[in-house]
């Protein structure tokens, strides 16, 4: 039995550790000119170009902005629902409704929002029908826009129902309703209970899930591919686009970007694991 277990774990290690780490190693070697189809010996050229080129840093900043805005908005909506609409959230039909977005692949949400929010989309048509706008240009640019509004809205649509269900489960698990009555008896206002008790408890308990949502949005691919612009691009789109170009000279820079992004995400996952352990102890 012990030999079978050891054999299974070695095979598993080869797949889940060996392959991705070998990929990371290959990306690192590719970024210094030691691997890849055009490998011609060691060079620090691509690392030095990081300081001068704006592509990767801009893609990173843009991804962070989208992730912060998406998770921030989703958390705000979910907290508002849980703290201000408790009676509604106790109705099974409403809970059932919140499961609906879990059925939706992000690619389908991207396609749907494109059909809904683009300048030739359904909302723009309704707006023309109501006389609010007169032409395509009169409707605001909500998808493939510079600020990533469409991308953010798509992520909010996908994640706020999940976060609402999570916060609602935590609200019941931590008996916040009883704390609410206690704080009200002790003279606090409903607003004070929400600000000083409920929000800190819910956010602390949900921290691992929130960080996971942040990481998932940071590395999102399907939605920004459909609803984003060629510039600025989110990180995954930026890397995949460069790797799929016909010009092989772009490969080392793409390997460098892949290596750096994977390194940062793995760092965030280490933080996540620590947070999860701490949340289990709370």
């Amino acid at each position: 039995m012990k030999t079978t277990n050891a054999f299974l774990l070695n095979l598993y290690g080869l797949l889940v550790l060996g392959l991705p780490l070998a990929g990371l190693g290959y990306a690192l070697l590719g970024s210094v000119g030691l691997a890849g189809p055009l490998a011609g010996g060691f060079t620090g050229e691509y690392w030095r170009a990081l300081g001068t080129g704006s592509g990767l840093p801009y893609a990173a900043l843009y991804s962070v902005w989208v992730a912060v805005a998406s998770v921030g908005l989703s958390v705000a909506v979910a907290l508002a629902l849980v703290l201000l609409a408790q009676p509604t959230l106790r109705r099974p039909a409403v809970v059932g409704l919140l499961y609906v977005p879990l059925l939706m692949p992000s690619l389908v949400v991207g396609f749907y929002l494109f059909q809904l929010l683009s300048r030739a989309g359904w909302l723009s048509r309704v707006s023309v029908g109501l006389g609010l706008t007169g032409s395509l240009q009169g409707f605001p640019e909500l998808v493939q826009d510079g600020a990533g509004v469409g991308i953010i809205l798509a992520h909010v649509l996908l994640s706020f129902p999940f976060l609402t269900l999570l916060f609602q489960a935590l609200y019941q698990e931590t008996r916040l309703e009883e704390y609410r009555q206690l704080t009200l008896t002790l003279g606090a206002s409903a607003g004070q209970f929400r600000r000083s008790v409920a929000v800190p408890v819910l956010l602390r308990r949900a921290a691992p899930a929130l960080l996971l949502s942040f990481i998932a949005t940071l590395g999102a691919y399907d939605i920004p591919l459909l609803l984003g612009r060629p510039y600025p691009q989110m990180l995954s789109v930026y890397i995949a686009t460069r790797l799929q170009r016909f010009d092989l000279h772009d490969l080392p820079a793409a390997y460098l970007a892949g290596f750096l992004v994977a390194g940062v995400l793995l760092g965030l996952i280490a933080v996540l694991l620590r947070l999860t352990r701490r949340a289990r102890l709370l």
């Binding site: 889940v16 991705p20 691997a35 499961y99 396609f111 691919y221 790797l243 892949g258 995400l265 793995l266």
Partner: protein, 253 residues
């Protein structure tokens, strides 16, 4: 009153995608600024049953791929979770399991692509399957780790003491105990593969045309009716799974 308004808004928010995609799927010559289609046609839906239909082939391919990933990952995850639980370095194996699951699938695909090419699996179903298993297997292992608690081990030992063979203890004791979690894992790994686009698209270089790849292709060709039909087909299995078991969709490792 406020409760009814909120419920109405949520219904509107979540029903609109289905309504709009449904309209797009049956619309004919629906151009700006018409709010509703000038005509309706069931042609895209009717063509689904044609023998050489690409969408139907994509649906079959996606079902086969996601089904295989779900079965292999759940079966493998069950055995691996046991091996991890009995290992001296259980916590380290658990942490290692987060590695491929933590990286965005498209980034993972980009990192392993050179090796997939060397294995002559690029652009093949085998390459996509390997890539999807790389994400689904650790996910299943993490999800199934609680099947091998001390209590489960004690039940297994008790069954062996009472005369069960290892196979009987597995079939009669451990599998029934683990069944709810196994079902959840089967659902979730199926959905993980069913929803995937980035990893499949990168590893298959567009050659393995699953439903998600087809949605993207139709969007690129500005063929909104077919993209809408493919999108609705993508929503069908998760909807059936949701009806079958709500909690199975929400559990996280």
């Amino acid at each position: 009153m406020r409760s009814k308004l909120l419920t109405f808004l949520l219904v509107l928010l979540f029903a609109l995608p289905f309504a709009l995609l449904g309209l797009l799927a049956v619309s004919e010559n629906w151009r700006f600024p018409a709010v509703l289609p000038p005509g309706y046609s069931l042609d895209p839906l009717r063509s689904l049953v044609a023998a050489d239909n690409d969408l139907l082939a994509g649906l079959g391919r996606s079902l086969l791929l996601a089904g295989t990933v779900a079965v292999v990952a759940t079966t493998g995850g069950f055995g691996l979770a046991r091996a991890v639980a009995r290992s001296r370095w259980a916590a380290r194996w658990e942490a290692a399991s987060y590695l491929p699951y933590a990286l965005p699938p498209v980034l993972l695909a980009v990192l392993i692509q050179p090796f997939i090419i060397r294995l002559h699996l690029s652009g093949s179903v085998g390459g996509v399957l390997l890539g999807l298993l790389l994400v689904a297997l650790p996910f299943a292992t993490l999800l199934l780790r609680s099947c091998w608690s001390r209590q489960a081990t004690e039940y297994e030992q008790l069954a062996r003491t009472l005369g069960c063979t290892p196979q009987q203890a597995l079939r009669r004791v451990l599998l029934p105990l683990a069944w709810p979690l196994l079902r959840t894992t089967l659902f979730q790994t199926f959905l993980l593969a069913w929803f995937d686009f980035g990893l499949t698209n990168v590893l298959s270089v567009g050659k393995v045309r699953t439903l998600t790849v087809q949605v993207f292709t139709y969007v690129g060709e500005a063929n909104a009716p077919l993209a809408a039909v493919a999108s609705l087909l993508l929503l069908l299995p998760p909807a059936l799974l949701l009806l079958a078991n709500k909690s199975a969709l929400l559990r996280k490792p």
